[in-house]
């Protein structure tokens, strides 16, 4: 084949690739890249009055946010919520993930789908479920008082307790998915070997299973953490406007106070926090998957 024809074919193929990429790149450009650049630019503007901004290139919104005591309280609150939800979500997801990673049951497919499917149901719906379960005259409170465990109903909604309970449940499918991926190294053979050498089940779990499952636990934990610190629906609905996290603060600044530079600066800061932990997560995920 003559060289000229080959290179012209190369040119056609490049043109074909470019043509194929155009619709997707255009769509993502409009719905993702441009908005984010715009957001970054907005964060550099200056707020001069209520809902009034002045085009500028300054870090004044960042300075405002970072010198505001309330903001630090909100940030601290968000991180604390993130850690608490992460620990609890990983703890309740662990048994399911370990079970799914090792079971040889014929129902494995169904049980796997059952554990992950809630991920594709609206978080508004799932939070609504928790509102019903945890309200003052809700199912949990009436069950507890029928059993005589409590006299007065526990306040489980419109406060951080409810937010934590609901978030733990909402994060479970993510934790289970990440953990199963990381449990590849937990092998039944090793446990059987330990068992045949005389180790009891508990000892076997503590010495063999749990250490081998740690990479999965860690990826699951990081996943849950990044999703929790940026969660909005559940803190807002379960918190009843009384629980403040970075996400609810961004929403209020953007839609109520209309302080867009400040909202944007907060969003950029949340993005940075999110990014750091995400890079950690991906590193870990690749290591665990052995890629």
């Amino acid at each position: 084949m003559p060289t000229s024809s080959r290179s012209s074919e190369g040119g056609t193929r490049r043109a074909a690739a470019a043509a194929l990429l155009t619709p997707g790149l255009l769509a993502l450009g409009v719905s993702f890249v441009v908005p984010l650049v715009w957001l970054a630019r907005m964060s550099l503007n200056r707020t001069v009055g209520p809902a009034e901004l002045q085009p500028d290139v300054s870090l004044s919104s960042y300075v405002d946010v970072l010198t505001d005591g309330f903001m630090w309280e909100v940030a601290w609150h968000t991180l604390w919520l993130g850690v608490l939800v992460t620990v609890l979500a990983v703890a309740v997801s662990y048994p399911i993930a370990l079970f799914l990673a090792r079971t040889r049951s014929r129902l494995r497919g169904l049980l796997m789908a059952l554990a992950i499917a809630p991920l594709l149901t609206s978080s508004v719906v799932r939070t609504f479920g928790w509102l019903i379960l945890l309200s003052d005259d809700g199912i949990v409170n009436s069950a507890l008082s029928t059993l005589g465990i409590i006299g007065e109903p526990l306040t489980l909604t419109n406060n951080v307790t409810g937010v934590v309970i609901a978030l733990v449940e909402i994060m479970m499918p993510y934790a289970i998915l990440a953990m199963i991926a990381g449990f590849g190294r937990v092998s039944k053979d090793l446990e059987d070997a330990a068992g045949s050498l005389g180790a009891g089940r508990l000892r076997c779990f503590v010495r063999i299973t749990f250490p081998l499952s740690l990479p999965g636990v860690l990826t699951g934990a990081l996943m849950v953490f990044v999703l929790t610190v940026s969660a909005f629906i559940t803190p807002r609905l379960m918190g009843g406007g009384r629980v403040f996290v970075i996400a609810t603060e961004i929403y209020d600044q953007a839609t109520t106070t209309l302080d867009w530079p400040r909202a944007s600066a907060l969003a950029v800061l949340l993005l940075l926090l999110f990014g750091v932990f995400l890079v950690l997560y991906q590193r870990l995920f690749r290591m665990v998957e052995g890629r």
């Binding site: 490049r14 690739a17 990429l21 908005p35 079970f99 796997m112 609206s122 998915l177 940026s230 949340l270």
Partner: protein, 268 residues
């Protein structure tokens, strides 16, 4: 002695797993049961059963309008995502070019962006061009969430297709379009089905980004529900939730049959 401790361990482990599943599924189960309960105070367990809340739902103009908007929006978003996602996936699997890794990164990065940040960014831009609370604005807002999933599912399918089938068709004289239509497209149907189902359900259920960009205009169903639930909880919302759950289950079933839910949703 040995087998007794084994039995105790297995029983305890079983109980823990069952309890974890119950906790995970509790909100969905409760919503489902209460949507058929006769008590307007969401009494559990219900003493009487009724379909009244579903009838009320069918007469609730606000909910119906939200449902109409969300269905239409979901369909438009799905079609646009399929076109943009399939072409991009073809370019990324069948062509080698400089910067390919960067493009793959771009096509998968929105998966990893906090929705509040994306929502705010979109509000700022759409506000600038007067598209807040309009269909075009909502479509643009949802595309960033759905296209990455379509690229991902279609790429999974394309990678499983042997390129020599396509080459054979080309050698026999079929043009690129005919080859795609007659050979590639039928072979990647699972990826298309999974991608379409995911796009639709993500758009249909999306609440955070939508909350930012609906303004006072066209409002989607999850936003209507969010605002309603902020002020009251009643069985009508439970009935509506069941409708939403049914949509999700349909999507889950489609994705599970096409590519497998776990493969499609694993992040990394």
């Amino acid at each position: 002695m040995r087998s007794l401790s084994e039995l105790i361990y297995r029983t305890l482990a079983g109980i823990v797993v069952v309890c974890s599943y119950l906790f995970l599924l509790a909100p969905l189960l409760v919503v489902f049961v209460l949507s058929f309960g006769a008590s307007p105070n969401l009494e559990f367990p219900p003493k009487d059963w009724t379909l009244r809340w579903y009838a009320d739902l069918a007469a609730n103009g606000e909910f119906l309008e939200g449902l109409r908007v969300s269905l239409l929006l979901g369909l438009i978003v799905t079609v646009v995502s399929l076109v943009a996602g399939v072409t991009a996936a073809l370019a990324l699997t069948r062509h080698r070019f400089r910067g390919r890794d960067a493009v793959i990164g771009l096509f998968t990065s929105p998966l990893l962006l906090p929705s509040v940040v994306l929502g705010l960014a979109l509000l700022l831009v759409l506000g600038q061009v007067g598209l807040v609370g309009t269909y075009p604005g909502l479509v643009v807002a949802h595309l960033g969430l759905t296209i990455p999933y379509v690229v991902r599912t279609v790429m999974m399918s394309l990678e499983a297709v042997d390129p020599s089938c396509e080459q054979a068709a080309r050698t026999l004289g079929a043009g690129p379009v005919t080859t795609f239509r007659r050979i590639t497209l039928p072979l990647i149907t699972p990826g298309l089905v999974a991608g379409a189902a995911l796009s639709f359900i993500i758009s249909f259920d999306e609440a955070v980004v939508s909350l930012f960009v609906v303004g006072t205009g066209t409002t989607t169903l999850p936003v209507v529900v969010f605002r309603y639930v902020s002020n009251n909880t009643d069985p009508q919302v439970a009935a509506l939730s069941v409708v939403l759950i049914v949509f999700s289950l349909a999507a889950v079933a489609l994705i599970e049959r096409a590519l497998g839910l776990k493969r499609v949703l694993s992040k990394g």
